[in-house]
């Protein structure tokens, strides 16, 4: 079946604008993760959703970042009032559950450039 998909693949926006990044997980996967990868850095955990539980938002870097997951499937990461330091590749991953026992399947990422 189809893997994790993300859209758009590339997004260029002006500083101060809001952006929405979308993630479609693998069907049936209850867990969904968002990561940010800045140039030359590792993946930085942002947020994860597990089933109907409240999301773990502990990695969101500021209140300009928010995410939601509708119907336990598609997720949207929103960045308000974008700043240049938000430029990065945003990766989404889904898995059958959370934690060490479950393999994460990654999407291709969205490359965000804030000018």
């Amino acid at each position: 079946g189809a893997g994790v998909s993300q859209s758009p693949s590339n997004k260029v926006t002006e500083k101060g604008k809001d952006v929405e990044l979308r993630c479609d997980p693998i069907s049936g996967h209850t867990a969904l993760y968002w990561y940010r990868q800045s140039l030359g850095q590792g993946l930085e955990f942002l947020i994860y959703f597990q089933g109907n539980s409240a999301p773990d938002k502990s990695g969101l870097p500021s209140d300009r970042f928010s995410a939601e997951r509708t119907g336990g499937s598609v997720s949207t990461l929103t960045i308000q009032r974008t700043q240049q330091e938000d430029s990065a590749v945003y990766l989404c991953a889904s898995s059958q559950g959370t934690g060490k026992a479950y393999e994460q399947y990654f999407g291709p990422g969205t490359r965000l450039t804030v000018t």
Binding site: G40, L43, F45, Q50, K100, P108
Partner: protein, 107 residues
């Protein structure tokens, strides 16, 4: 705080040579560690995980709690092993990644 360090940004070896990609972590509990790989123009994918004690594509990784390391090793590198490799630590359902090592296997 959890931290994963991969000291080498780039590692170049010749085909057939042994390869070791270093990973050190800082975590006071019992860590769960992973190696992820990203081949050119492909997605990030799981290579192996500590809990499975597995060998994938000839790679192995041993957890050394005394040295807080989880180095990835392969006795004979192949050109198709050229990729970015990321070490990751899981704690409370969250994953912490190192900055990655680019492995270049020369013919």
């Amino acid at each position: 705080a959890q931290r994963v360090t991969q000291p080498e940004k780039l590692l170049s070896v010749f085909k057939g040579a042994p390869v070791e990609l270093k990973c050190n972590y800082s975590y006071s509990g019992s860590p769960e560690l992973f190696w992820y790989v990203q081949y050119s123009r492909q997605r990030l994918q799981l290579l192996l995980r500590h809990i499975s004690r597995e060998s994938i594509k000839g790679f192995t990784a041993d957890l050394n709690k005394g040295e807080t390391s989880f180095h990835l090793k392969k006795p004979f590198a192949q050109e198709e092993d050229s990729a970015m490799y990321y070490c990751a630590l899981e704690r409370f359902n969250k994953f912490y990644f190192g900055s990655g090592t680019k492995l270049n296997v020369k013919p």
